[in-house]
Symmetry: C2
């Protein structure tokens, strides 16, 4: 098990309905030392790529993406969730369905901050059905930017997102892939990943 899998075992809480709560260290309270370790691991895994900008989506991706951007020495941009249809044409837009909240959001990035030919590393805390990630990819490619890879902290391997996006040819690295979990016994199985 890697450092993240160990931490999930130690402090993650499994709830009914395949919900994994990691709010004590990742997406409500944040253990900054862990976030830095996560960022360094993404740098290791994507270090051979050209990355000119890190991109994520509010809210819980922001802290992680900021530290990844620091590792690469590049700016970070986060897509904003927007309810308003009153966008001024200066935004790239994608529609994203939330698994947690069962609603749809428009997510937007200003055209000022994504350009043709930029090399984008997308970072997010969770990958489940893949809607958020597909929205970010769509926004980046609308701008003519190149998606160099997608760095995910925790992937729910039993949901469709990871496979779908890998099948589209994107390089997805998930630091922990949960293949199954059991809220009754509190057990969690991670997919074996080869050390790279």
């Amino acid at each position: 098990m890697n450092f993240l899998e160990k931490r999930i075992i130690k402090d993650g809480v499994i709830k009914p309905g395949n919900v994994l709560k990691v709010d004590s260290f990742l997406n409500h309270q944040m253990d900054i030392e862990l976030i830095e370790e996560i960022a360094k691991e993404f740098k290791r895994r994507f270090g051979n790529k050209t990355v000119t900008k890190v991109m994520t989506i509010e809210a819980s991706g922001i802290g992680i993406a900021a530290f990844v951007a620091k590792e690469f020495g590049v700016p970070m941009v986060f897509a904003k969730k927007s309810k308003s249809i009153n966008l001024d044409g200066e935004m790239y837009v994608a529609e994203v369905e939330s698994f947690t909240h069962k609603n749809k959001n428009q997510v937007v990035v200003s055209k000022k901050f994504l350009h043709e030919g930029e090399h984008i590393l997308i970072i997010d805390d969770f990958l489940a059905n893949g809607c958020a990630l597909q929205g970010l990819i769509s926004i980046a490619e609308s701008a003519g930017a190149i998606v160099e890879g997608c760095g995910i902290v925790i992937e729910k391997g039993f949901q469709i997102g990871g496979r779908a996006i890998r099948n589209m040819g994107y390089h997805v690295e998930s630091l922990a892939i949960v293949d199954s979990m059991d809220d009754v016994n509190g057990t969690i199985n991670f997919r074996e990943q080869e050390e790279k």
Copy 2:
């Protein structure tokens, strides 16, 4: 002028209605080197306080607060905006009105992550009418935590928030205080602050 004021002059955009857009470096795209410099400045200004946790509110406070937490070597917790009334009693709640979006949100922090006697440094990107900051203070004090100070990146000095919260006895440090701005001429006046 300090480093932040210079950057606001250089890259901030003044819009009608006293709107200051800093989305190219602070709250949409983030210049990580600048964020680190901001974090170090907060460490300098609050370095003589006991700080056991940094607290902010999603979304644009998260990246800044994460780097401030790194400076202090403590965890960070961010309050979440919640539309649901269906909270399970395990949350501290405050109601916050948004100046930008003209709506009200409940903001919540899990009771697991705020405790009696903790020493809280609150961080946010903007202070205008003070609603968000008052909500965070209220949440921290509901938990019996001690608010050691409030670190704000940009304060709109012509709005009521900063004065109101200082009058309540809180130690507020704003790295730039805008006393007035003019979208026609593109001029901006910062309040003189003594070097500390």
